[in-house]
């Protein structure tokens, strides 16, 4: 109905401008509420290469190459609901659409996904963070399903991690050098100002950086890009936090050329979804821009979002069955309050200075300087007496039930069961009492609370050039330089009533720092380990984008260099000659090449092909086999090579939008480092030790299909569906190297190859499907329900049990009684059960004068399904004998540890805009 009227109106308008000889299509885009002209609106004519971006006055004009007849004018701007207008272009006539209105997308749905993304998994041995944060701004059907419906399960799009995606703020890359991932906690709680996002899927061309294979997002934080006005919101939830307030004020472009935007907010909870997970976060954002003249503009942005939250532990099946998915073994009562022993604190302010130079109307140069400092701290308890963990295997009923009558103690198992059900939490009072008692006898503290700290200071400089050579061809280029000093150390937080803690290895009694032997540390002291990781990286990127009627294509390349170096500040007692001072300087060459094309069969059918090859430095975490104690570098450390292809068929009609994609990516020469206590370690000089395991030469592959479809079957009802069928596996047998320290000093063992080929990569479900509908009522309320199905999620396997030593005893001979079929069963990779999650979402908005009130609510996992989001095999039982014995117990002692998804949760927000 609306469309028909508009068509007629524009047709009439066209008639009235018949005088002009040239064929012209022009107009102005304004904001539906403020009626201010809108800048940065992308106006294009469907099926052609004609596209323009509106400037200050919100105007656009197409004067050449216009196709005649009925055409679709597409008007889009980030943060606004897009519109399509049918126009009739007649030769020699002007089509003038003087007030094209765009209404702001109130953005309720975006709150929903940002909530998910700023939650990392709350564990030290964390499973990956997915790319949903990068995807949320996409309008692509599949990407939206992945961001909103799948992300709670830690589904990875195309099997790729957030370290394979690129996140930029104002053109500056924010992926951390340590693990390659963006630290979402650095910009949490300022959602209002993070809406202006430019996202490209996979390895497609974007205007800012070479990017990577997992999508690139640039978030625009320029003060002038924000819509003038004030927004206040309050949210209530039972997920990571319970309450959130946020207030934002943006000035819009003022007459004197200044513009500014500020946001302040707070998120808090005494307890999130899991027990004992406190949440305490404050956020502040300020951006100020001065438009110096028509050509130059200078913007300064500052972000500071310090947050503290209590973590929740992974648990074995036994613990889950006894306590459920809200159970958290990290907390205990103290003074009647729940005190969590593992708190994560992130305080890393970001400052940016951005210069925008419009050299001509075809060329812009954007130069940026970014500075980030601050720290991340993860706290825990260190102990020299009994393990305080209430889920330590010797405290659980399973330990007392054995097939061996000598160890079977049902009475004690019952005791332990009651104890665990009735309590099962950390006993803080006992820790204090033990310290007091030990001190009284002349011993030092046996328990201490400390944090592992990463204090990173990073400078980034870059310069991005975008220029339009011709109407069809544009060139983008950038140079980047980053330098980082990451200071890593442990710091005593709380002596738990004691008088001092020994700074020495608790098994070998060697000093943590031989330069300061026999040291007793106090609150606030640095101890255990102390080192810097220094990294410098530079690269240059160039790409050309070609847009023609029938085909768009791009080609791009990147070249650069990254160096890492460890600088030890302590001389570690276990590695006296190999820990102090600067270690080996690691040098890596970065290379990248990518190309792709989009072939427009017609306005409705498109084929899209992309390919990329990237060679990059490994992350710092995967480069050093035991960075806390030595300079040692993982064997065969080399650049990680990623190759990716994807091919898509896209169909778009008035009511139906769909995409079908086949993708393939492979990653070669990756490395991984893990730490654990192994039991039954054949082939070493000790059969039990705390080992560092380093895998090198890992090759992985992801391939599959993505399908997304949206059908606007009636003006108010939209049906949507998405399907992901993927398979992510290891494609070779990487090398395993174990190192540990015993009385004789550091030991190093080549443990041979781990037969990981064809084992699945661990993490979220590799297959997911979503069906649902969305209803939008003209009276400004909407409602959406989806049913989502997940399968093919796998546990993370330990490498050492897949080596030849699994079958051998200490003499190198096959274990007596070894049965190959039994071994195959033991080494089978656990596939988690399939599950279905139903999600409901809805909202309503009211307009009162020129003020808006919006209400948004979402309920996730309505049916309250229990499901596993990830897990890992414990490496404690390292050979056939110990693993068989453990699996034959009625309940395993060292079964895998899992993370479970949340039950039914809600998120509700009310916002007020004026």
């Amino acid at each position: 109905m609306k469309k028909t009227i508009l068509t007629v109106l524009f047709g009439l308008a066209a008639l009235f401008t018949m005088h002009a000889q040239q064929t012209i299509v022009k107009g102005q885009v304004v904001d539906g509420d403020s009626t201010e002209p809108l800048t940065d609106v992308v106006v294009s004519i469907k099926g052609t290469a004609l596209t323009q971006t509106t400037a200050n006055q919100g105007t656009f004009e197409f004067s050449s190459g216009l196709p005649l007849g009925e055409q679709s004018l597409v008007v889009k701007k980030n943060g606004y609901l897009p519109k399509e207008y049918t126009i009739i272009i007649t030769e020699g006539k002007t089509v003038d659409i003087s007030t094209l209105i765009l209404n702001e997308d109130i953005g309720e749905a975006e709150d929903f996904s940002i909530t998910l993304t700023d939650e990392e998994l709350d564990s030290d041995e964390s499973v990956s963070s997915n790319t949903s944060g990068i995807l949320q701004s996409s309008k692509d059907v599949f990407a939206r399903a992945a961001a909103y419906e799948f992300s709670a399960t830690y589904f990875k799009v195309r099997g790729l991690d957030s370290e394979n995606g690129t996140l930029l703020l104002n053109g500056i890359r924010m992926n951390k050098a340590f693990n390659g991932r963006p630290q979402w906690g650095n910009w949490g709680g300022i959602n209002d100002v993070m809406r202006n996002q430019d996202f490209v899927n996979g390895s497609k061309a974007n205007d800012y950086a070479f990017g990577s294979v997992g999508g690139t997002t640039n978030v625009n934080l320029r003060a002038s890009s924000y819509r003038k006005g004030t927004r206040l919101s309050y949210a209530s939830s039972n997920r990571s936090y319970r309450n959130r307030v946020m207030a934002t004020h943006a000035s819009g472009l003022l007459e004197n050329g200044w513009s500014y935007a500020v946001t302040a907010g707070r998120r808090w909870a005494d307890e999130g979804y899991a027990e004992g997970t406190i949440y305490d976060a404050n956020s502040i954002f300020g951006s100020i821009e001065k438009k110096i003249n028509e050509k130059h503009s200078l913007n300064f942005t500052s972000i500071y979002t310090p947050n503290r939250r209590g973590k929740a532990a992974g648990m074995t099946q036994e613990v889950f069955d006894l306590k459920g998915n809200k159970y958290n073994s990290y907390w205990g009562y103290q003074d009647g309050e729940k005190r969590n022993s593992r708190i994560k604190e992130v305080e890393e302010p970001i400052l940016m200075l951005n210069h925008y130079w419009t050299i001509s109307d075809k060329t812009t140069l954007n130069t940026n300087i970014g500075y980030q400092t601050g720290h991340i701290g993860n706290s825990r308890i260190d102990y020299r007496a009994s393990n305080p963990d209430p889920t330590y295997y010797k405290k659980l009923p399973s330990y007392y039930i054995s097939n061996n009558p000598a160890f079977n103690n049902p009475a004690e198992a019952y005791n332990r069961l009651q104890e665990f059900l009735n309590d099962g939490q950390l006993n803080w009072d006992e820790l204090y009492a033990s310290n007091a008692s030990a001190n009284m006898q002349g011993y030092h503290d046996v328990y201490v609370s400390y944090e592992d700290r990463n204090d990173d200071t990073q400078w980034s400089f870059n310069s991005i050039l975008n220029t339009e050579i011709t109407e069809n061809i544009s060139i983008d280029a950038a140079v980047n330089y980053t330098t980082l000093k990451s200071h890593n150390y442990a710091k005593v937080l709380d002596l738990l009533g004691g008088t001092g803690y020994e700074d020495a290895d608790k098994f070998l009694f060697t000093d943590a720092n031989m330069l300061d032997p026999n040291r007793i540390v106090q609150k606030g002291d640095t101890f255990k380990y102390n080192f810097n990781l220094l990294s410098t990286s530079y690269d240059a990127f160039a790409q050309a984008q070609f847009k023609y009627n029938k085909v768009d294509f791009y080609v791009g390349g990147q070249y650069g260099n990254t160096t890492f170096q460890r600088e030890g500040l302590y001389q570690n007692g276990n590695n006296p000659t190999n820990s102090l001072g600067k270690g080996e300087k690691l040098d890596f060459t970065k290379l990248g090449a990518k190309a792709g094309l989009t072939y427009k069969i017609s306005g409705k059918h498109l084929i899209d092909l992309n390919g990329a090859y990237i060679q990059d430095a490994p992350t710092m975490r995967n480069s050093f086999s035991n960075s806390r104690e030595s300079h040692n570098v993982v064997n065969n450390l080399t650049e990680v090579k990623t190759t990716a292809f994807d091919a898509s068929y896209i169909f778009r009609s008035g009511i139906l939008k769909s995409r079908l994609t086949g993708y393939y990516s492979k990653i070669e020469d990756a490395t991984e480092v893990a730490f654990y206590y192994g039991d039954g370690l054949t082939g070493l000089s000790d059969d039990r030790a705390f080992v560092q395991e380093a895998l090198d030469g890992i090759d992985k592959q992801n391939m599959g299909l993505e399908f997304g479809v949206e059908a606007q079957v009636t003006p108010t009802i939209k049906l949507k569906g998405a399907l992901a069928l993927g398979e992510s596996v290891y494609t070779n047998n990487p090398n395993v190297n174990l190192s540990y320290v015993n009385q004789s000093g550091p030991q190093n063992f080549d443990y041979g190859k781990a037969n990981l080929k064809d084992y699945h990569i661990a993490g979220g479900p590799q297959r997911a499907a979503s069906v649902g509908f969305e209803y939008r009522d003209p009276k400004y309320w909407w409602f959406s329900a989806t049913a989502n199905f997940f399968s093919n999620a796998y546990v993370d396997v330990t490498a050492i049990t897949r080596t030849k030593y699994f079958a051998l005893d200490n003499n190198g001979i096959q274990i007596v009684g070894y049965d190959e079929d039994v071994a195959k069963e033991l080494l089978k990779q656990e596939k988690f059960d399939n599950y279905m999650l139903v999600n409901l979402v809805g909202g309503k908005s009211w307009k009162i004068g020129n003020k808006y009130i919006g209400l948004f609510a979402s309920i996730a996992n309505v049916l309250g399904e229990d499901y596993k989001t990830g897990g890992y095999e414990q490496a404690r039982s390292a050979n056939y004998t110990t693993l068989l014995e453990d699996t034959q117990r009625p309940t395993r002692n060292f079964g895998p540890k899992y993370w479970f998804g949340r039950g039914t949760t809600y998120f509700m927000t009310v916002n007020f805009r004026f």
Binding site: L232, H249, V262, A269, Y279, I343, A385, D429, A438, V446
Partner: protein, 442 residues
């Protein structure tokens, strides 16, 4: 103006919602040091002595459950009172708490078997404890009287969950005075088993100097001998391969050994709690010279008269020097057995000590010393001084008699030679045996 109003509204809005999240500010909880009330006379609980509970086990000859022995239906608890003497911090004591019935001069010791580590934190040495007998059991565990819980007919460890109730702490901590004793009393079991003992003047035998408490590269338990300077008696300390100090060298001086007296069936074993239990800081008492006579190769055998000579002999596992002047009938003999040179240049107060037997009638052997002997050849040309050693007078038995410590300090400063001169005549020829000869510091 409107903008300012907006900013103020924003700030107030935030302020209104600022909420506190309890985090960070934790004060040390008050730790109440109130001991167990079980021994309060007002409660009327039944107190037993160690002797009584041990006798319960001895009488039965097997595991005894206290619930069958103590009053059950009067609502009162039964307990024994003891003092902790063990400390498992060093790892040599494992899942056990040893207690004795008095801080000084105890009459008995009992081991409590517990399924817990690091018990030293709460059950420190000297802590007065009450073991609540109800629900527990007592048995002879390979010779050691042990309290635990009954598991059928065998004794099992008390669960860590039940420990606080089974072994209740009093707020008193006494100083434990280790019972002074000797190696003989220890090995002869003339003092109660399970108590804390100390033996003075102990040292690591010369051959074991530098040895560590247990093995560096494995986790086996290791027995180590310690020898007494006073009576050459040997006691065995048993060290766990899981102890923290297994790689520490045992101290090389002479001093007091403190340990828990225990056993394994008929073998006496001692358990130390930490390296400091070997307080071996004084000068060693190693003999300057010792000889067990399994051969006389180092000695000079010189016959002046007669065909019979000194020779090395043995009986069972004992070896000794022997001579008899009797073949068919008594003969005339003068035979010298001269030691190698014994260096007294750094000695302070050297004494000679040996065991001797005289059997049958005949002249006594003479014990002589000289600083003039050439080292070989005819000793009669040198000047010899007679030494006043205690000699065996009981010619009717083969029992060795100790010579006592014979002062040879007159020979200080250089080398000394000890000689045994045997004489026999046709009127009488005794058989003389000499063993365990040492020259040592007094």
């Amino acid at each position: 103006m409107k903008t300012i109003f907006k900013i103020v509204a924003v700030v107030l809005f935030i302020g209104a919602f600022t909420a506190c999240v309890q985090d960070d500010d934790y004060s040390v909880p008050a730790i109440e040091e109130t001991g167990s009330n079980i021994a309060n006379p007002a409660l009327g609980n039944h107190s037993y002595s160690f002797a009584t509970v041990i006798a319960m086990q001895t009488a039965a000859g097997s595991l005894v459950e206290f619930n069958n022995q103590v009053p059950q239906n009067d609502g009162k608890d039964s307990y024994i009172t003891g003092y902790v003497i063990s400390n498992d911090e060093g790892g040599n004591i494992y899942k056990s708490i040893y207690i004795q019935d008095a801080p000084e001069n105890p009459t008995a010791g009992i081991k409590i078997s517990v399924d817990a580590y690091d018990t030293y934190i709460k059950y420190n040495v000297g802590r007065k404890v009450y073991v609540k007998l109800n629900g527990l059991a007592i048995d002879d565990d390979n010779g050691v009287i042990t309290i635990g819980v009954a598991d059928g007919t065998s004794l099992a460890r008390i669960s860590a969950l039940d420990l606080d109730d089974a072994v209740q702490r009093d707020s008193t901590v006494e100083t434990i005075v280790a019972k002074a004793t000797t190696t003989g009393a220890v090995n002869g079991s003339t003092i109660p088993n399970g108590i804390l003992i100390e033996i003075p003047n102990m040292q690591v035998p010369v051959g074991d100097l530098g040895a560590t408490f247990a093995n560096i590269d494995n986790t086996f338990s290791v027995n180590r001998n310690l020898i007494s300077c006073d009576d050459n008696g040997i006691v065995v300390i048993r060290n766990s391969g899981y102890s923290d100090f297994k790689t520490v060298e045992m101290a090389g001086g002479k001093g007091t050994l403190t340990a828990i007296l225990s056993k394994y069936n008929s073998n006496i074993q001692l358990f130390v709690r930490e390296p400091a239990d070997l307080d071996f800081t004084g000068p060693r008492c190693d003999p300057l010279f010792s000889e067990n006579f399994n051969t006389l190769a180092a000695w000079t055998v010189f016959s002046v008269t007669g065909a019979q000579d000194w020779y090395a002999s043995s009986f069972g596992s004992t070896t000794f020097a022997k001579i008899s002047g009797f073949t068919t009938s008594a003969q005339n003999n003068e035979d010298w057995l001269v030691s190698p040179a014994i260096d007294l240049s750094t000695a302070v107060a050297p004494v000679l000590n040996f065991d001797n037997v005289k059997r049958y009638n005949g002249p006594d052997v003479e014990v002589l010393m000289s600083t003039y002997y050439a080292g070989s050849g005819d000793p009669t040309t040198a000047t010899w001084t007679t030494l006043p050693a205690t000699l065996d007078t009981n010619t009717g038995s083969w029992t060795f008699v100790n010579s006592g410590d014979v002062d040879i300090s007159a020979a200080l400063g250089g080398n000394v030679y000890i000689a045994f001169k045997y004489t026999s005549t046709t009127a009488g020829a005794a058989t003389i045996e000499i063993d365990n000869l040492i020259v040592k510091e007094l």
